[in-house]
């Protein structure tokens, strides 16, 4: 078993994040919300980032695109996309990148579209920006994109306003905007959380199909392991700003190497068994102001022992592309079996 600080590198990495650190608040007393994380995404990969609210997964995504809110900033690290360090790009070159090679869709399709412009206008804007098409050509392309994301009667929908569409339709419009530039990487921040379950499945199906069709990578942020199982090839589990486990989905589901991942898996209600009580993880993610010493999960962990408080456990390799940050893994595996 070798300790490892480098990320597990897939065959061809499209995006390499190294020691990314994102802080909130005043620079003399910052709150670290993303704390030195490293990971890669392969050029044709569907990667899920999983974690509770406050784990830093959305901040990670916003850091990649440099779309952080005013109060937050990236204080260290490197985000390498296709050989370019995104954090070093000028603002104007970064603008060409975002919405171009990297596109993003968001959690709330209800509020992510501007209510006073038509759907066509908002898709057309992206087309004009990154493809240089205008007027009738841009409109024709927008209709094509709407058809691609399976919006029925796109010729009619294109002239409608967001409030005239359902939540699922709006998310499809967001996807159409994202696809307008044929991105290499699509970041989807909880794209289905606000939608009902049947629509959720349709949107995930659509994303998966488009990913295969266009050969792009998708970074999916979610707190829903059901979504992960349905969608992703690999998953990264984040806890309190750090990556605690990174593994192929089937592997992580079968043999989680971090107690937090195990806890998350246990809290999924079983489909064919009657249970009196769901197994939830006690407590909640500690706020950045009151982070425990050593392993950040130890305050909620059944396996915690005094050594856990001594130092932050490094990510260790446990098998092909499977890393986890727990010093108790030996004990842990014994107990499980």
């Amino acid at each position: 078993m070798t300790a490892m600080t480098e990320a597990a590198t897939p065959m061809s990495s499209l995006l390499k994040v190294r020691d990314l650190r994102t802080e909130l608040g005043k620079s003399d007393n910052p709150l670290t919300v993303v704390d030195g994380i490293s990971f890669d995404i392969g050029s044709n990969e569907r990667l899920a980032v999983v974690g509770e609210s406050g784990s830093g997964k959305t901040m990670t995504a916003l850091s990649i695109l440099r779309l952080l809110p005013d109060a937050a900033r990236i204080s260290a690290g490197e985000v390498n996309f296709n050989g370019q360090d995104l954090l070093a790009l000028s603002r104007s070159r970064m603008r060409r990148m975002s919405g171009g090679d990297i596109a993003m869709i968001f959690q709330e399709p209800m509020s992510s579209l501007n209510p006073v412009f038509t759907v066509g206008d908002q898709i057309g804007e992206a087309i004009t920006l990154h493809q240089g098409l205008r007027g009738r050509a841009a409109r024709a392309r927008a209709i094509e994109l709407l058809a691609l994301v399976k919006v029925p009667s796109p010729e009619r929908r294109i002239d409608q306003y967001p409030h005239e569409l359902s939540g699922g339709m709006r998310q499809r419009v967001m996807i159409a905007i994202a696809l307008s530039s044929q991105p290499k990487l699509l970041i989807a921040d909880e794209p289905t959380t606000a939608l009902d379950v049947t629509v959720q499945a349709q949107i995930l199906q659509l994303l998966k199909q488009l990913q295969q069709e266009f050969g792009m990578a998708i970074l999916l942020i979610t707190h829903d392991l059901g979504v992960v199982a349905q969608f992703a090839q690999r998953m990264i589990v984040m806890y309190a700003g750090k990556i605690v486990e990174d593994a192929p989905v089937s592997e992580a589901f079968r043999r989680p190497m971090h107690p937090y991942t195990e806890g998350l898996l246990r809290s999924i209600p079983p489909l064919y068994e009657d249970v009196d009580r769901l197994l939830a993880i006690d407590g909640s993610v500690p706020p950045p102001t009151a982070m425990p010493s050593g392993c950040r999960f130890r305050t909620r962990c059944d396996y915690a022992r005094p050594p856990c408080a001594a130092q932050i456990p490094p990510l260790k390799l446990f098998g092909e592309g499977h890393r986890a940050a727990c010093i108790r893994h030996d004990d842990y595996e014994v107990r499980r079996t």
């Binding site: 779309l67 975002s98 993003m104 579209l113 501007n114 412009f117 920006l129 990154h130």
Partner: protein, 314 residues
Amino acid sequence: MIEVILRRLISTIPVLIGVSLITFGLIHIIPGDPAIVIAGPDASVDQVESIRQLLGLDRPLHIQMSVWYMNLLQGDLGNSFMLGRSVLQAIQERLPTTLLLTAYSIVITMPLGIAAGLLAAYRQNTWVDTAVMSVALLGVSVPSFWLSIMGILVFSVMLGWLPSSGYVPPSEGILACLQSLTLPAFSLAVFQIGLLARMTRATTLEVLRQDFIRTARAKGLAEWKTVAKHALSNVMIPIITVVGLLVNVAIAGAVVIEQIFVLPGVGQLVVQGILRRDYPVIQGSILAVALILVLINLIVDLLYAYLDPRLRND
């Protein structure tokens, strides 16, 4: 659309009736008798009484009121007791001045107030924000009559750039007309700019936090375009209501400003009417102002629907 406008216009009738009833009540509650004013200090009781009869003021109030309404239905607002002409004529002479003054001040207010508010919001918590908001606070705090006098002192007396008083109608030259209205319009506008800047700042901060602003940035849209197109289009929806209110405030403010700059507007007409107990003039001009305010509110509501597609269906 036309149906909406018609319905709204019809619904203004009760408002106007209400306004005229209140005005009628108020002018008869305040002490003073136009007949005594007209007859002069040396007149006998008989002379005053005959003037009262001549003006119809001896009749019971409800009869006076009904006569006034009957005449109104025929488009007749009666004759002024003092001005030697019909009230309608007096209003027609005076209204353009007031409307021009108000419009001028709003034309100054809108770009400056909105730009200042946008800038302050976009540079929130920086020295720019502090500076803009301090000036705006000063603007809403300084009384317009004091500002007018200081304006006259600086721009008319010391610099000699602008006339200190008087009005040049547009028929005698647009430029001279604008020049005669510049000091009064700015005196009115300073308060409005301050208020609009503060409201725009608050609204913009709210809009900039919206998800669709992040979407626009994620698209790779230039920052100025994100603000100018996506933020401003949403900021304007509540702001247009504020502008509608500011027009009302401006017309009210014009009453004072017209006195200071000796402008022959409706404000001056009302003040003179009240001082001389010229009942028909008071009644008529207040009705005219009320009608204008009602129309402005109608325009604001229509603009609202134009700016916000979510309101267009009804």
